[in-house]
Amino acid sequence: MTLAQARLSPDAPAQPLAEARGVSRTFQVSGGFFRSRRLLRAVENVSLAVQPGEAVGLVGESGCGKTTLARMMLGLLAPTSGEIYFAGQASGRLSRRAIARLVQPVFQDPYSSLNPRKSVGSIIGLPLRVLGEDGGTDQRRRVEGMMERVGLARRLYDNYPSQLSGGQRQRVAIARALITRPQLVVCDEPTSALDVSVQSQILNLLQELRQDLGVAYLFISHNLAAVEYMASRIAVMYLGRIVEEADTGTLFRAPKHPYTQALLASVLTPEPGLGVPETHLGVSYPNPLAIPPGCRFHPRCPRAMEICQTVPPLPVPAEGDGLVECHLYPPPPAARMPA
């Protein structure tokens, strides 16, 4: 049992909206012509829960498994092992529709995630039709209401995605996600494809919607400044594992894991005179097809010890209702967990 699970004791007040319990996901990838297929371990034994009304940030670099975890928490991808629970029920026992009523996605690229041959109104109304809530004129009214809510003019109802700007398209994607009033929206890099001035409009909108509708977010990004702004709790992923988790204030004030420290040091704030930070990370790059033995971060870690090369660290509880998985923070002897 990991800490994320331990925190969710049965007498906890509310069930998490979506919860990953010890999930792993592997993929078979082609090794190339005449070569055997290889196993890619995208996510390995990860636990993460999103409580009602909460905004959880998930950060990590490309290939760390954050999108795979997101797709599992949307019910779009089955874990190889472990289980996803939606409002306390195992995903295997829920229908696709029941999950879609609870969780909806907003994807990164508003250029490829909207059907170019459907009008804006039709795109936003699709979830209503899929969930059988199609009420004729009522649907148009609901779609227009939602368009107004996300800052899209009603006159765009019959327009096509190609006639919209990037920011408008992302508003369409957000309206589509919210039209069925889900309790959780999984946002996978929702602003990465947008210009700076448009990005702030979308972040503002997501914050407003959270306050007004009480929707919870799983907010995935490589942009730490955006995650800090959006999330109340942050999980840091590295090569398939959550290596640190804490409330946002604690994580930014006192990052524990050397990887989190390097990530935070790499945030280039617009403050001239500070120069480009030295991350102290090695030149080797993380490759999910060749996960190092021991601690998976050790080849890049500036504080790696001998033990890190052979023994994988265990998650230990940390300040800020969090956990950290690093040999620099050995578990207290009494609470040592079985390997």
Partner: protein
């Protein structure tokens, strides 16, 4: 500072499009001295990439370039012909692009491509070229440099490819490097490492560096001077310290207000926004390009073209007729784009 490496005056790029002529770059002027890093910053479509391509004479064929002055050192690059220009490209001026995979040839080894840069431009032996390739790969901290020469681009990770690109740009000891969004496709920790490396090499080889980016964080940390572009024009320029301490143009002010800064922006508080959209650059426009989105615009702003005025020493310039009033606290109103 030192010797002037690049002088650009009144650079214009026109592109014929079905609806008329797109004035993509409208009279851009800037200069780069030895040992200086000049950042050209702006959002998509502002003309920053075309400015760089125009300097290199690598514009799309149908594009029309004109300039009052385009000097590399004391030599004019205007009308020198493709033959002379291709001698300059790669030897005196090198370019680094955003996506290293598309700028490296997948069919040739790393060694082949590195050596070619030198063999093409100077009379050295293959052996000498290989020695320099190994030396530079080591300088950009690529491990096992000699073995890497036999590898193909697809063997390398994105960060490693960008290091190879940087090594390649240095093969002929250029006076000037033009880097177009060199770290945008990279992860944050790797972005910090690459920028750190670029800054270090630029100091060591005393080159001029022009870095094109949309990321104000990158600009603040690496720039000596900043050129802010909007809708084909320079709207503000100055030293990084001056521009970030006291942005003079309402667009620069707006951009800076849009980005969340950890530790400074309160979580969930509204971020600044720039309402409206970039105007079309097709056909002739009158008045300030930013007027429809500007909270300080008056009728005078919409009437005539706005000149780029010097406002202080150190090449501090701004294209705004109300900058002094705004600095003195002129009241803002709702921009036209909102009403």
């Amino acid at each position: 500072m030192g010797e002037r490496i690049l002088s650009v005056e009144d650079l214009r790029v026109d592109l014929p499009v079905p609806a008329g002529t797109l004035h993509a770059v409208q009279g851009v002027s800037f200069h780069v001295d030895r040992g200086e890093t000049v950042c050209i910053v702006g959002e998509s479509g502002c003309g920053k990439t075309l400015t760089a391509l125009a300097v290199m004479d690598l514009l799309p064929q149908r594009a029309q370039r004109s300039a009052r002055r385009l000097d590399l050192g004391s030599r004019s690059l205007l009308g020198i012909g493709e033959r002379a220009m291709s001698d300059i490209r790669g030897s005196d001026i090198a370019m680094i692009f955003q996506e290293p995979m598309t700028s490296l040839n997948p069919a040739y080894t790393i060694g082949n491509q590195l050596e070619e840069a030198l063999l093409r431009h100077s009379r050295v032996s293959r052996r000498k070229a290989r020695d320099r390739a190994v030396y530079l790969l080591e300088r950009v901290r690529v491990t096992a440099a000699a073995e890497r020469l036999k590898q193909y681009p697809h063997h390398l990770s994105g960060g490693l490819r960008q290091r190879v690109m940087i090594a390649m740009s240095l093969m002929c000891s250029p006076k000037l490097i033009l880097a177009d969004e060199p770290t945008t496709a990279l992860d944050v920790t790797i972005q910090a490492q690459i920028l750190h490396l670029l800054a270090e090499l630029q100091r060591e080889f005393a080159m001029g560096l022009v870095l094109i980016t949309h990321d104000l964080g990158v600009v603040a940390r690496i720039a000596t001077r900043v050129v802010v572009m909007y809708a084909g024009q320079v709207v503000e320029s100055g030293t990084a310290a001056d521009v970030f301490a006291a942005p003079a143009h309402p667009y620069t002010q707006g951009l800076l207000a849009c980005i969340p800064v950890p530790g400074r922006t309160q979580r969930g508080a509204r971020l600044g926004t720039i309402p409206g959209m970039v105007p079309t650059l097709i056909g002739e426009a009158t008045g300030c390009h930013f007027a429809s989105r500007c909270a300080y615009a008056t009728d005078a702003c919409r009437r005539n073209g706005i000149p780029l005025d010097a406002i202080a020493a150190d090449d501090r310039q701004v294209r705004c007729i109300r900058h002094a009033e705004i600095a003195a606290g002129a009241p803002a109103h709702a921009p036209e784009a909102v009403s």
